[in-house]
């Protein structure tokens, strides 16, 4: 396969009032890559992810999806969002629906799949994340880890080209982090393109093909995990990792 990037971000800038959260972000992600984004809280990691999905509108710069600017009129926002899924820290499952309905709604409404087809596809992914026993349960009846697995299945059921993970394990009890990371590891090994904002350094080190370190709204370093974690070129990265592992 060619190394043509799925997503290409150039000179992305995001400002909330006078506060510049993102400044001159350049990042490109190709098919099959797993990019982990690390950095302290408030460094702009989540905002960057939310800009990619257009949950936040960029102030300046451009985001190209297969060469098409996603903020332009030619881009079908709904189709685009369906093909670039997002997994949230707070899961954001639909509270009024069962696990199965959560995974079929978007397929039926956005992709116009038939109910039977949607159910079949949903079941495939619910089985993959090990939640097939709980298809009739409402979110309120599930644990945090179970909810996150259903949320991942919901995104996968849309047959996305790429998934964005926004601190998917940060809201979980320690004993539930493992079950979600296991699912993500499996997805990575199957070649799913992912951008993962995370504080799980072991995941970033072992699973990702690239690690991006962000600080103060800019990308300080973007390299393979072995460089970032063993001998980072930017002293800021080294300082962050030192602080992180000292705790």
């Amino acid at each position: 396969m060619s190394a043509e990037p799925i997503i290409q971000i150039s000179h992305l800038q995001k400002q909330f009032g006078d506060h510049r959260v993102l400044d001159d972000i350049n990042l490109s992600v190709s098919k099959g890559e797993v990019v982990s984004v690390i950095g302290a809280s408030g460094s702009g990691k989540s905002t960057m992810l939310r800009c990619i999905n257009l949950l936040e509108t960029p102030t300046a710069g451009e985001i190209l999806f297969h060469g098409v600017d996603v903020t332009s009129k030619e881009n079908d926002l709904q189709k685009y969002r369906a093909s670039v899924g997002m997994v949230f820290q707070q899961f954001n499952l639909f509270n009024n629906m069962t696990a199965l309905e959560n995974c079929t709604l978007g397929q039926i409404k956005v992709l116009k799949r038939s109910k039977e087809e949607a159910k079949e596809i949903a079941m495939t992914y619910l089985r993959k994340v090990g939640m097939e026993q709980f298809i009739n349960a409402k979110p309120a009846q599930l644990s945090g880890g179970q909810k996150q697995r259903v949320a991942i299945a919901r995104s996968l059921a849309m047959s996305p080209e790429m998934l964005l993970f926004d601190e998917p394990t940060s809201a979980l009890d320690p004993q539930m982090v493992g079950e979600v990371l296991t699912v993500m590891r499996q997805l990575a090994s199957e070649g799913l393109t992912m951008i993962v904002v995370t504080h799980e350094m072991a995941f970033a080190r072992d699973v990702s093909s690239r690690v991006v370190y962000m600080e103060g709204g800019v990308i300080c370093e973007d390299d393979v995990p072995s460089v970032i974690f063993k001998k980072p070129n930017n002293p800021k990265t080294a300082a962050f990792l030192e602080r992180f592992f000292a705790n």
Partner: protein
């Protein structure tokens, strides 16, 4: 099941207490006038109440029917108005300048409507609308029951507009983002995800509005709508038993509102969702279907 029977027992207990209280109240005037009526063939207080119930029940029943019709249809229509205005007022503005202008204009009109109808008494609204129509058309009058339904609807709609708007705003932003992240439009999200949750959350307020409407339809007698209170006036003039008549009507209103409250409380529980879900397969038996019951805390009533 246990909770169910307890609730019904309580329902009748309260009803029983209410009747007892009224009976005790009624004994006062009867005791004060002791002896005098017995010889003159006066049926006494209870006799008069009984006579009103047995002889005037066709009027009372018709009044109950119209009161319930107007308040039920008015509440449902008001809820629809509230839903429409609530969805409109919380919808994001379009990028298209013309659509955005119309949307903003509509929102302005809705705010004015809400302020006016919440800020004036329904009795006055009834007079203004009914006689305003007559004035504008040179003496034509509107049919009464539809007029009543119309007035109650737009009055309730003004309150519902705020109730629904509050209901939509209170839904976690994550629900919108979750839907947006899989490509759903604002409209699709509203219909499938938000409105069902809003409905469940605002049901207590809606039943409250319904109860208010059952009582407040009584003001529609000013334009001659033949609801329960209107018939009370007729019965009073026919029997000259003012206290007895209004006491009977009072009890009827209470029974109506109390039953409606209880019924809607049951509906609330239904909408709160099933307490159980099924697990498919277990470690010992992959074919098993296990029903998991959510424990219901005892303090829930």
């Amino acid at each position: 099941m246990y909770h169910q029977s307890k609730r019904f027992f309580r329902f009748f207990a309260v009803l029983f207490c209410a009747v007892l209280l009224l009976a005790a109240l009624s004994a006062l005037p009867a005791a004060a006038a002791e002896g005098t009526e017995a010889q003159s063939g006066d049926p006494g207080f209870f006799g008069n109440v009984w006579k009103i119930i047995t002889e005037k029940y066709p009027l009372l029943l018709r009044g109950v029917g119209e009161t319930m019709l107007i308040s039920l249809v008015g509440t449902v229509a008001g809820l629809l108005i509230g839903m429409l205005t609530g969805v409109l007022r919380t919808a994001p503005y379009s990028k298209n300048a013309v659509v955005r202008f119309l949307h903003k204009l509509l929102n302005r009109i809705i705010s004015v409507y809400v302020e006016i109808f919440r800020g004036t008494p329904m009795m006055v609204q009834a007079m203004v609308i009914y006689w305003g129509y007559a004035f504008a058309t040179g003496g034509n009058t509107l049919p009464l029951i539809p007029s009543g339904i119309f007035i109650v609807s737009i009055n309730t709609g003004a309150y519902m507009a705020e109730i629904v708007r509050g209901g939509i705003i209170s839904i976690d932003k994550g629900q919108f983002e979750g839907a947006a992240s899989i490509g759903m439009s604002h409209g699709q999200t509203m219909l499938s995800v938000i409105i069902p949750q809003v409905m469940r959350n605002i049901l207590p307020s809606v039943s409250n509005e319904f109860v208010i409407n059952i009582k407040d339809t009584s003001v529609l007698n000013v334009i001659g709508v033949t609801e329960l209170y209107y018939f009370a006036g007729i019965i009073k003039r026919e029997t000259f038993k003012t206290f007895e008549t209004y006491l009977v009507v009072c009890i009827i209103y209470f029974i109506l509102t109390f039953s409606v409250t209880r019924l809607l409380r049951l509906a609330e529980k239904k909408l709160a969702g099933k307490d159980s879900y099924t697990i498919f397969g277990s470690q010992s038996d992959p074919e098993a279907e296990i029903k998991v019951e959510k424990e219901e805390p005892d303090y829930v009533s």
